[in-house]
């Protein structure tokens, strides 16, 4: 049973560029949440997708957008990258929006130079 997978593992981008991160949920899960974790901090909730719609959103600007596909996989897009966007981006999946036993993927380490 494959757990949550994310790609790519590492990414280096330049300020102003755009980036797309991908996540495949654990088998049987239909909800995907995205988090940003800066060094030494806890994960910060970006948004959650369920039934291909954004259900909840944290305090992140519109430069952060996402999408969920019919197979429940998800993408996180960040436009006009800033140095401060450098972080570990974690994806977590669960069954339904009320199921908080979330399973996390290994993350994508994004470095913006």
């Amino acid at each position: 049973d494959a757990g949550v997978t994310q790609s790519p593992t590492h990414l280096i981008k330049t300020r102003g560029q755009q980036v797309t991160l991908r996540c495949s949920p654990k088998s049987g899960h239909d909800t995907v949440s995205w988090y940003q974790q800066a060094l030494g901090q806890g994960p910060q909730f970006i948004f959650q997708y369920y039934e291909e719609e954004e259900r909840q959103r944290g305090n992140f600007p519109d430069r952060f957008s996402g999408h969920q596909f019919p197979n429940y996989s998800s993408e996180l897009n960040v436009n006009a990258l800033l140095l401060g966007d450098s972080a570990l981006y974690l994806c977590a999946s669960s069954f339904g929006t009320g199921g908080y036993e979330q399973y996390f993927g290994p993350g994508t380490r994004l470095t913006v130079t």
């Binding site: 949550v4 949440s33 988090y35 030494g40 901090q41 806890g42 994960p43 910060q44 909730f45 959650q48 259900r55 909840q56 944290g58 570990l88 974690l90 929006t97 009320g98 908080y100 036993e101 979330q102 399973y103 996390f104 993927g105 290994p106 993350g107």
Partner: protein
């Protein structure tokens, strides 16, 4: 705004010691409190607590929630070097938002 505060931020103990990690929260429409262990990258789920006073236990780890005082503790007994990690506490509310604390960095000396 909902908030989760963990203490201490870091802790160094010797193998065999018992540790207690603290998590306090301020939240409207509380649903549950979660504990995770983060070693390299992906946090791994430890416990979900919804009711006060009921201890959850898994091996040497245990946790309890106090909904009146708005805090939770995570205990680890007979610590081992493999327990070295960042322990994250998070609360969920009925708006389906999840708020994490900054974590406690635990280092176990052999």
């Amino acid at each position: 705004e909902d908030k989760v505060v963990q203490s201490p931020l870091s802790l160094v103990v010797h193998e065999g010691d018992t540790v207690t990690l603290n998590c306090s929260y301020e939240v409207t429409n509380f649903r549950s409190l979660l504990w995770y262990k983060q070693e390299k990258k992906a946090p791994t789920f430890l416990f979900m607590l919804t009711s006060s006073g009921i201890e959850k236990k898994s091996g040497r780890l245990s946790s309890i929630l106090d909904k009146k005082e708005l805090f939770s503790i995570l205990n680890i007994t007979a610590t081992q070097t493999g327990d070295s990690a960042v322990y994250l506490c998070a609360e969920t509310n009925r708006d389906d938002k999840i708020i994490f604390g900054k974590g406690t960095r635990l280092h176990i000396l052999p």
